[in-house]
Each structure stands twice: as structure tokens, then as C-alpha cells.
């Protein structure tokens, strides 16, 4: 008997059918991956199961019994736990306090912290989820915070665990650890629903893969019966090129030259500690690294958002070390920011207003401070057309587009400006396969046009498929440089985590492979 079964669940939002007669079965000790693009209805479905939304039609059965789940409290009582993409932890509280929150042991409103700690330690031990029960959440890395969320669900007695895009925020190493945890949970008798849009993950972890598209289940396969290409086709509904073949680089003149650059972080730490490299026209140079090793500060210094401590940056021979963001744009630096919601778009602006952002003072969009709506509208219409932005019109607010289309707006603006240098920081983060393919093609298009591209990415797949050269950044320094053909994910991962340097012992869980070791 399945532990969880959905029968023809339908959920309609104004104007959108989020779930259209979706049926799903989860057996005991099974890992089902729910695969689909952003907006395919995966999260809606699981929010229904977890009681955050109510279905308009259909049935939910737990252990064969029909149930009505009206709140997450009820879901928890039925043994269903969910770890959301955005963690719901109280940062200033400790791990134990967070885990027992809502179900504190003790009586008369007095929490028995000793019992709580013991219980947390016991669960932690049993499932091999090691984490310091007294650490504050704010002090923990993202991977550990996620572990706390899982522990919390287990503490609440979950037998079915729903993980919503659990790997979106993790490093490759953390992803591997998570997969190990998920398998041990299943060994202990749990059943897991794993929501994702990443193909290689479902191949690695799932027992069964349920593919959703536009609110419906479009296929169900076992990993052994398919491959990534087949899954992508099922998910997107057409053929998708996962790895793009590219011409050899036609390296032109040096466009970007960075010398001994040092940049401080907001906390006054040496985030970038003496970095030198060049990017030439027609070349894509990728900076690979685990998040928080100085990439953000490097990019901010490069595009004029942060002033470097020392060193120099020059673009085609012009010194732009201390250029403002405005003059940086004007000399030909385009920037796809890593946080498109915060830095890339003004979400309450419409698409035309967003597409002109940064060029809004320049002819033909404005003369002497007066803007020309007609020119701006014409440009916006053209960009929407050229970059295949799916929208009814340029008057639509950016906030109402899907993530993929929002990123297309940013890409259209930054590339449409025809820059000398494109700085693309995590340009495909959180996007689905179709949108990733689009962004990758655009970046390669810049390369073919003889432009210089600096790509900053946490996704090794992306780095390897796009870059001509790969620079590995660790603790503010470039610790290794590869020609792309000579790099592979394992070796990159090794250097990204401090391998090859003084921290070899700490990185022991990643074994070095390939010829680059010891260099």
C-alpha cells in the first residue's frame, strides 16, 4: 500500500491551471523525484499535500485512507514533513530551539531544554545528520541549515519527507552529502519526494521520476530507462541541447586586464586578495568557486559598485579602476547581476522601463533630461521580439513574469546594449532547462561577436560547457587556471574547496583525480 497517493488533484489560480488532474503514488522507502520547469506546478502540488494550499478537486490518501489536509499542522500529524526552498528557521535561536519550535517538550509552558537536546541528539545520531545542537542558526552554513530543517521534520515524526528544490542553494560537495542523507533516510524507512528541475540530480538520486509540464504529469520513468536528453525532452516538450558545441576561441585583443586587484568586503575583510588576469575579445573566461570566496566583491569592483583597495582594472587600455557604475556602463561594461530580483530588475517597473534601465539618459531614449517614450517602447518591443521574452506586452510589470523571462529581460538589456565586456554572474541560477539553454546561447553569441565574457558560476557544468579558460577562485585568490579542455568537474571541485593549497587535509573528502594534482 502506498504511503501517499494523490488522485486527480486539480488546483486553479485566477487565469492559470496550476495542477490539472495530477495523480501520484509514493511507496514506502521510495525516492520519487518530481521534475519540471519553473512554473510546472511541482511546488503547488506539494503545498497542497502539506496543507498550505487546498485542492479544488481530487483526493489525497495517506496509508490508503482518504484525508483532508487543511493546514500544515494536520499534514505533520499525518507524518508528512516538508523542507522549503527558503528555509523557515529563526536565525538568532539555536539548532535545538528551532527543531523543537512548535512542539517543545516540557509542561506548563516551561520548556525542558535538556529533554529537547537529548531528543535532537538521538534523531541526529540515528539518521547520521550531524550538527551541533547548540549552534545558532545564523552561524551555520546553508547546507547545515538545511540539515536542521530535515531534522525538524524528523522530530515532528515525518514518514514522508518533501524536499522543495533542496539543492538550489548547495555547493557540489553539499549536494553529494545531501544525497547520502536522503538515502540513509530511506534506509530508515522514510519515503521522499524530491522536487527539482536539475536533470543530473534526478538521475543520481531518484528511484522513480515523475515529470510535470504545464500543470500535468507528462511522464513517469525510472532512471535506468532513460537519460538526461530524454528527460529534458519530456520536461520541456521539445529537443534541448544540454551541452553546446562551440567553435574554438578566436582570441582577439585584450579587452579586460586586471592587475593585483584587492577588494574589501562589507565586513572589511580581504575578500579579493591580489587577483590578476586578462580576458580577450572572443573569449569566455569563467571564475569557478564555492560561493563566498570573493566572486561577488570581484564583480562589484569590476562594474563600479565597489571601490578596490589596490590594483588596477583596465578596459581596452582605459583605466576603470575607480569608475562609477555609470561610467562603467558608458565605457562598455555590461553586467548580469547574480541577484536579478535585487540588482537586475526594478520589479514594480514595467518591461519597457526595465529594458531602458542604465541607458535611460542616453540618446535616443532621452535628450537633455526628457525621455522619449516612443523610442523606448519601440526598443522594448524589439528586445521582446529578439530575445523571445514571453509577455503580452512591454507594459507588463517585471514582477509578473516567470523567473526565466525575467532573466531574459536582464540579458536582453545587457547584451542589447552591445558592450565590450559582458560580466555574467550566475546567469542561470534558478532557471529551468529551456531558459538556461537560451542564456547560454546568448553568452556564446557574444563570444562569436568578438566580445569578452567573464562568467562567474557555481555550476561546474556551466563552467565546463561555456568557458575557454577556467580560473578557480578560493579565499580571494586565483588558485588555479585551466584551459577548459583540460578541466573536469572532479578536479575543479578539488581546487574550489582549497585542494592543492595549504588546506589539503580539510578537503580530504574530495579525492584528486586527473593530471593537474600537485601542480
Amino acid at each position: 500500500m502506498p504511503v501517499l497517493e494523490l488522485r486527480e488533484v486539480t488546483k486553479v489560480f485566477p487565469g492559470v491551471i496550476a495542477n490539472d488532474k495530477v495523480s501520484l503514488v509514493l511507496e514506502e522507502r521510495e525516492i520519487v523525484a518530481l521534475l519540471g520547469e519553473n512554473g510546472a506546478g511541482k511546488s503547488t502540488l506539494m503545498n497542497i499535500v502539506y496543507g498550505l494550499l487546498s485542492a479544488d478537486q481530487g483526493e489525497i490518501l495517506v496509508d490508503g485512507q482518504p484525508v483532508k489536509i487543511r493546514s500544515s499542522r494536520q499534514a505533520i500529524d499525518l507524518g508528512i514533513g516538508m523542507v522549503h526552498q527558503h528555509f523557515m528557521l529563526v536565525e538568532p535561536l539555536t539548532v535545538t530551539e528551532n527543531i523543537v519550535l512548535g512542539r517543545e517538550p516540557g509542561r506548563l509552558g516551561i520548556i525542558d531544554m535538556k529533554a529537547a537536546r537529548e531528543r535532537v541528539a538521538e534523531i541526529s545520531e540515528r539518521y547520521g545528520l550531524r550538527v551541533d545542537p547548540d549552534a545558532k542558526i545564523s552561524e551555520l552554513e546553508v547546507g547545515l541549515q538545511q540539515r536542521v530543517e530535515i531534522l525538524k521534520a524528523l522530530y515532528q515524526g515525518a514518514r514522508v519527507l518533501i524536499l522543495d528544490e533542496p539543492t538550489a542553494v548547495l555547493t557540489p560537495q553539499e549536494v553529494r552529502e545531501l544525497f547520502a542523507v536522503v538515502r540513509s533516510l530511506v534506509d530508515e524507512g522514510l519515503s521522499v519526494v524530491f522536487i527539482t528541475h536539475k536533470l543530473e540530480e534526478v538521475m543520481a538520486v531518484a528511484d522513480r521520476i515523475v515529470v510535470m509540464r504545464d500543470g500535468s504529469v507528462v511522464g513517469e520513468v525510472r532512471p535506468s530507462e532513460t537519460d538526461e536528453i530524454g528527460l529534458a525532452r519530456l520536461m520541456v516538450g521539445r529537443d534541448v541541447v544540454l551541452r553546446i558545441d562551440k567553435e574554438p576561441s578566436q582570441c582577439g585583443d585584450v579587452v579586460l586586464e586586471i592587475r593585483d586587484l584587492a577588494v574589501k568586503s562589507d565586513q572589511e575583510l580581504d575578500a579579493v586578495a591580489g587577483v590578476s588576469f586578462t580576458v580577450c575579445g572572443g573569449e569566455i573566461v569563467a571564475i569557478a568557486g564555492v560561493s563566498g570566496n570573493g566572486q561577488t566583491e570581484l564583480v562589484e569592483a569590476l562594474v563600479g559598485l565597489r571601490s578596490p583597495q589596490s590594483g588596477s582594472i583596465s578596459l581596452k587600455g582605459t583605466d576603470i579602476t575607480h569608475a562609477s557604475a555609470r561610467s562603467s556602463i558608458e565605457v562598455g561594461v555590461s553586467h548580469i547581476p547574480e541577484d536579478r530580483h535585487r540588482r537586475g530588475l526594478v520589479l514594480p517597473f514595467n518591461l519597457a522601463e526595465n529594458l531602458v534601465l542604465g541607458d535611460h539618459r542616453l540618446k535616443p531614449y532621452a535628450t537633455r533630461g526628457v525621455m522619449h517614450p516612443r523610442e523606448i517602447t519601440a526598443m522594448a518591443k524589439k528586445r521582446i521580439e529578439d530575445y523571445d521574452i514571453r509577455t503580452p506586452s512591454e507594459k507588463v510589470l517585471a514582477s509578473s513574469l516567470s523567473g526565466g523571462n525575467q532573466q531574459k529581460v536582464v540579458v536582453a538589456r545587457e547584451i542589447g546594449r552591445n558592450p565590450e565586456l559582458l560580466v555574467a554572474a550566475q546567469p542561470t541560477r534558478g532557471l529551468d532547462v529551456g531558459a538556461i539553454e537560451f542564456v547560454h546561447r546568448q553568452i556564446l553569441g557574444e563570444r562569436s561577436a568578438g566580445k569578452a565574457v567573464l562568467l562567474i558560476s557555481l555550476e561546474l557544468e556551466e563552467v565546463l560547457s561555456l568557458a575557454d579558460r577556467v580560473l578557480v577562485m578560493y579565499e580571494g585568490r586565483i588558485v588555479k587556471e585551466f584551459v577548459a579542455e583540460e578541466a573536469d568537474a572532479e578536479t575543479l571541485g578539488y581546487y574550489m574547496t582549497g585542494g592543492g593549497g595549504t588546506k589539503l587535509d580539510d578537503g580530504a573528502d574530495v579525492s584528486p583525480t586527473g593530471s593537474e594534482v600537485g601542480a
Partner: protein, 374 residues
């Protein structure tokens, strides 16, 4: 692609209804609750509002009174609204308004001999500049060290109040018992609307006998249209809105958040200063202690009700002006205290704010629902 499924036209249509609908709903609700309060207090709400309406629109003189009271509210509302559009809460518009009025009252007396064609524009300009100057220090403090404008403009408001208090009782005091300045000569006064018509015309067309209403209302309307054009069609307004909605995205696009902040607060101050100058030149013709009568603060309510839209601000100011103009008649004829008007004003703002809370919940719910993984 999933993006095409985000159905938008319905939303765009809804947003228009929302824009006009909720302020109207808020006003209706506020009057409803106000009626309830009047009823509980033992009076007849129908009688009360009938008297109020009569006092505000019952005849040319009453309409004139409504226009008179709306005039500074339009300008003060624009001042606060323009700041809000840059994400700034200029709570000290009252102080900038006082400084505008003060400078107009002082310089107006000094320029007694000149033609009105020079004096009036000069005084308006000086009033605006005085308001901008009074906002400049808080603006610089905000841009440079991040000092919150709510605190600094408020404190500057207090300084302005006591400066006016001291000057009207001391150095600028007119002869006599009352602490006030010398009256402006006619060349520095903004003429009443009815003064444009001859006595015979007024007899034939009594509609133009608009009582104390003065031409300043046209200055206010021109200012509203001007602000609307600036926000919509200039890079200044575009950058102002971008900074107000997302300072990070604005910064990334090469817009200086600090400089935009300074400009926005100074323009806001200039509009408040203009309100003060118009009020002095059109109505009081002099200044005295607390001549501003809280217009700067009511301007906050006006801006909130109008959701910072310049044209909406004209409508919201008319509403508040009418409430204020009619309240006297209401007290006289229905026996209901004038203070009920303050309660209704507060209720209007309460419901406008409550709508924000409701919307926030709706958005949050929708976000949870539709976020596939965005």
C-alpha cells in the same frame, strides 16, 4: 515555456481599478464608521453629513472655502508624495512649509514698492527655495551618513516652528499686542478669484463669488501637473522612481542613490515651501505663531490617500479641504463636534493602510502558491 502562462491582462485591468477603487472604498468606509461614531454619540449622522456637505458645497462662498483649504493641501501632498516616490518619508514638510511662508512674509514686506508681476513670482520662488534649503541639511545627512529623514526632518520642523515663534514675537513683530508680522502690501498678495470679476459681473453670475478662494489654487494645480510630467517624462523622475522602488537595481544601473536622495528631498522641500508661500500670500498676508496649522502633516494623509499620484493628490486634497470647510457648519447646525472630521481623516488613512496589509497577505499567499522555484 512556463512564462506564457502567467496571464497578465486581467491583472493590469485590476491594477487600474485598485488604484482608484481602494481610495474611494477607504473614504466610503471612513464615512461609514464616522457615521456610526456620530450615531453612538447621540446625533443624527444624516443630518450631520448634510450640514457638512452644505458647508463645503452649499453655495459659491462655501465652494470657495473648500478650494481655499484644498490649495495648500495640494502642494503639501505633492511635497510628501514626491518624497515617497523616492522612498523617502518627508514627515517634516510642515517645517519646510513654515520656512517658505516665513521668507515670503518677510521679503514681501521688504519688496513693498514693486509691481506684483515681479513681486509675486519672486516671493513664490523664494518660498520654494527656502523650503528646499530647509530640506537640504536632512538630505545631505541622509545621503552621507544615512541619518533617517523621519528623525531629521521632524527635528528641523521643530526648529522652524520656534524660529517662527521667536521672529513673530520679536524681531519681525508688528506694532500691537498680537505676535504677528506686518501685513503684506497688496502688490505681494495673491488676488482672490472673485477680484478678477467686476461687481456687476458678480451680480449677474453669483457663481464666481468664491469667497476667500484665491488664485493660488491654479499654482497648485500647475505644480501637480508639473510633478506628474516630471515623474513620467524626465530622467529625473525616472531615476526618482527607480531609487524609490529598488535602490539596488538603480545603483547597479549607474544611478547615484545618494544624489537622487538629495534631489528628491530638496524638491519635496521646495513644494512644501511653495505651499507656505502661497498660504501666506493668498490667505494670511502675514505670519503668526503656528500659522501653518498642521497643513504639512495633513499633506502626508493626502499623499497616502492618493497613493502619491500627483493628479490623485488634487482629488484627495479637495476631499480633505471639503471636510475641513464643512466641519464648521456641521458643528453649528447638527451640533456634532468639528473634531469628528479629524477622526474621519484618520479613518481614511487607516483604511488605505489596511488595504496595504490585505494586499500584502494576498501577494504572499499567491507567491507561496505560484512559486515553482523562482
Amino acid at each position: 515555456m512556463s512564462g506564457s502562462r502567467d496571464v497578465v491582462p486581467a491583472r493590469a485591468w485590476m491594477s487600474v481599478v485598485q488604484k482608484v477603487g481602494t481610495p474611494i472604498m477607504s473614504t466610503v468606509l471612513a464615512i461609514g464608521v464616522g457615521s456610526l461614531i456620530i450615531w453612538i454619540s447621540g446625533y443624527d449622522p444624516v443630518e450631520a453629513f448634510a450640514a457638512l456637505f452644505k458647508g463645503a458645497f452649499g453655495g459659491p462662498r462655501q465652494i470657495g472655502e473648500t478650494i481655499l483649504r484644498s490649495t495648500p493641501l495640494i502642494l503639501a501632498g505633492l511635497a510628501v508624495g514626491y518624497g515617497f516616490r523616492a522612498g523617502l518619508f518627508n514627515i517634516g514638510a510642515e517645517g519646510q512649509l513654515m520656512m517658505g511662508g516665513l521668507l515670503a512674509a518677510w521679503l514681501g514686506v521688504e519688496l513693498a514698492g514693486l509691481t506684483p508681476l515681479i513681486t509675486i513670482p519672486t516671493l513664490l520662488l523664494v518660498g520654494a527655495l527656502a523650503g528646499a534649503a530647509w530640506a537640504f541639511v536632512p538630505a545631505i545627512l541622509k545621503a552621507r551618513i544615512g541619518a533617517h529623514e523621519v528623525i531629521t526632518t521632524m527635528m528641523f520642523s521643530h526648529i522652524a516652528r520656534y524660529v517662527v515663534s521667536w521672529l513673530t514675537a520679536g524681531p519681525l513683530k508688528a506694532p500691537g499686542q498680537i505676535p504677528q508680522t506686518v501685513n503684506l502690501s497688496a502688490n505681494a498678495q495673491i488676488p482672490r478669484i472673485q477680484s478678477l470679476f467686476s461687481a456687476t459681473t458678480l451680480e449677474a453670475l453669483p457663481f464666481f463669488g468664491l469667497g476667500r478662494a484665491h488664485l493660488g489654487v491654479f499654482i497648485a494645480i500647475i505644480a501637480a501637473v508639473g510633478v506628474w510630467l516630471v515623474l513620467r517624462y524626465t530622467t529625473l523622475g525616472y531615476e526618482n522612481r527607480a531609487v524609490g522602488l529598488s535602490p539596488w537595481a538603480a545603483e547597479t544601473a549607474g544611478i547615484s542613490v545618494q544624489w537622487t536622495t538629495v534631489k528628491a528631498l530638496c524638491i519635496s522641500g521646495a513644494l512644501a515651501g511653495l505651499a507656505g508661500a502661497v498660504e501666506v500670500m493668498g490667505l494670511h498676508h502675514r505670519i503668526f505663531d503656528q500659522f501653518s496649522a498642521g497643513v504639512g502633516f495633513t499633506g502626508i494623509a493626502v499623499a497616502l490617500l492618493a497613493k502619491n499620484h500627483p493628479i490623485g493628490i488634487i482629488a484627495a486634497a479637495l476631499l480633505f479641504g471639503a471636510l475641513s470647510a464643512g466641519s464648521g457648519t456641521m458643528q453649528l447646525e447638527a451640533g456634532v463636534s468639528q473634531k469628528i472630521i479629524l477622526i474621519i481623516q484618520a479613518l481614511v488613512i487607516f483604511f488605505v493602510a489596511a488595504e496595504g496589509i490585505v494586499n500584502w497577505f494576498i501577494r504572499k499567499r499567491q507567491k507561496e502558491a505560484t512559486s515553482g522555484a523562482e
